[in-house]
Symmetry: C2
Subunit: 346 residues, 2 copies
């Protein structure tokens, strides 16, 4: 059984850069025994102790350290090297989702060898990727894909919440991880943003085919946004490789531009619905089934107003599944399932 | 001075898989002294002798062999290994644009070392790529981008023809190469399809910034298509990273589905115009300036009808710049230049 120390130095209170930590703590089946962030040492996060140094975490008997921050572009900040060396020298395996692979770092690899621990790069692409084979049109599962207005707004969280709600109804539901946090949580998947660009769609196809072997209602975690100036390539390749039947449009209520990029506006919700439907491949004209809002920055009254406004603007069911429960969104998805791909209770 | 032997075994007559050969022979400043294709040994291609074996090419004194085929997915067919070994053992440098890098192949690398020749992988990404920095909004050049309905229909050729026509008018025009053939032709560039998916837009930005240091009217070679089920990720990342002011929509006249994928229809031209304009980032709402048609499969009457039909359907100037000259298309682009980015004669 793995027991995790989640490394979130400087970012444990940060919804964007700490999103790996937050998602892992909330959804992973493994226990997080401590979080490391020297800026919050002594506090608790969701009941989990926050420590300031690796040595202080050892009394909780962790087996594995997870790098729980997601710096833009994926490069490991130099200050992290000492943290990782401390984990390794104390016998912890290390899991990380950087674009820079820990196992390819001579110093860290040598330290891991010396201390008999494993370095696991969650973002390392599997062998043998290529372009799609057409299997994404042949499996029997229904594919639902969370897409959105920006990065780090909850596309993974929405997919997980809807998946868990569907599972509670007895449906053969599968969460399909496409990024490092989803992989850390679920123990399988491909980080499609780390794949050679020509093979993003092929990687997405492989994921839905694998997911279809596990169940018949797939929730494919979205990446980036079609209007994100950095990551739209990943977004479209994942969309076209996964070939979803239905989309769940995710948005962080109140945001009007891409985070930290004020010159890049986010279109209105109705425009995003139209854009995502327009961008579908003709062979599989996906439709937006509902709108999943992240209202974490709003008080409850404002959150309810945001939900009502989103419904009025789009004509679709909207809700915040974390705050108000996922059932209305799951109902909206099930009501729009393609007839030829009806989902059976398992 | 480099003298090229272009290796096109089995594909010298094939417009799709032989597109590297055809583009290089037509547009590169270096001389192609022979083409290798055992199926056409003894014939001529554009006046260049076709040979059946490497030994038969040596009398033309080549210095460099170029892999002139583009297999789907970029993997080197096994039969090519013997060809490359023959080139190396006869003292030729080798340039190749596969996803599989020749220099990483132990047998070929050792042979190259032994014979003192260089292996140059045109698709190998440069060091230090990342996400865009915003420089793509700050340079002073006008960016025109060729986009299209499919792969291998002439997006590179159209960009080169329009660039050459603009240069003949004395404009400070630059062709911006984004794929292996463009790089082989021009001696610079990045193969954006071989970059880690998260960094496609960053690579595209780097290319337009470098292009803007060479001139003020940039023709950015397009890749793939927004409706191509394999390569749309590359297409959108390149588009959003290059942030073009204007688009040239390229299409192979008469084609109604993606090549070799009959279940994937190509939308009508007017739909493609609307799709590409819709997919622009809000910060730079690119417009289609004209339609560049590839009419190579039509006779002259049919080609003229196809041009007239495209103009009627889209309301834009259309032409086949290879067959009928590029001037009408260049005029259409220049007439729609953004006022703040007027291009000066150099």
């Amino acid at each position: 059984v793995k027991r995790y120390l989640v490394l979130a130095e400087g970012h444990s209170a940060d919804a964007h850069h700490g999103k790996t930590m937050r998602g892992f703590v909330r959804y992973a089946p493994h226990q997080t025994v401590a979080i490391l962030d020297s800026e919050r040492a002594g506090e608790l996060h969701d009941g989990i102790p926050i420590v300031g140094r690796v040595a202080e975490a050892l009394c909780f008997n962790p087996t594995t350290a997870l790098v729980g921050v997601a710096p833009t572009g994926g490069v490991l900040p130099p200050v992290w090297r000492d943290l990782l060396k401390a984990c390794i020298s104390n016998g912890l395996d290390v899991e990380a989702g950087m674009h820079t692979f820990l196992a390819d770092d001579p110093e860290l690899a040598e330290a891991a060898r010396r201390h008999g621990v494993e370095l696991h790069d969650l973002r390392r692409p599997p062998e043998g990727l290529g372009v799609p084979t057409g299997e994404n049109l042949q499996h029997g599962a229904t594919v639902v894909h969370t897409v959105g207005s920006d990065c780090a707004i909850g596309k993974k969280t929405m997919a997980l919440e809807l998946h868990l709600a569907a599972k509670r109804r007895g449906l053969a539901s599968v969460f399909v991880p496409t990024g490092q946090t989803g992989i850390a949580i679920s123990g399988w998947g491909i980080a499609v943003d780390a794949v050679v660009a020509d093979f993003v769609a092929g990687a997405a196809e492989r994921l839905v085919v694998e997911g279809a072997s596990m169940g018949d209602l797939l929730w494919v975690e979205g990446q980036g946004s079609l209007v994100h100036p950095y990551y739209s390539a990943v977004t479209l390749g994942l969309y076209h490789g996964a070939l979803p039947h239905l989309l769940v449009l995710c948005h962080k209520a109140g945001e009007t531009h891409i985070e930290e990029l004020p010159e890049h506006p986010i279109p209105p919700l109705a425009g995003l619905v139209e854009l995502y439907e327009r961008a579908a491949l003709p062979v599989r004209p996906a439709r937006v089934a509902c709108v999943a809002l992240n209202t974490m920055n709003l008080d409850e009254d404002a959150a309810r107003r945001a939900v009502a406004d989103a419904e009025a603007e789009t004509g679709l069911v909207a809700d915040d599944p974390v705050r108000f429960g996922a059932d209305r969104l799951v109902d909206a998805v099930l009501a729009r399932l393609p007839a030829r791909a009806a989902v059976e209770a398992s």
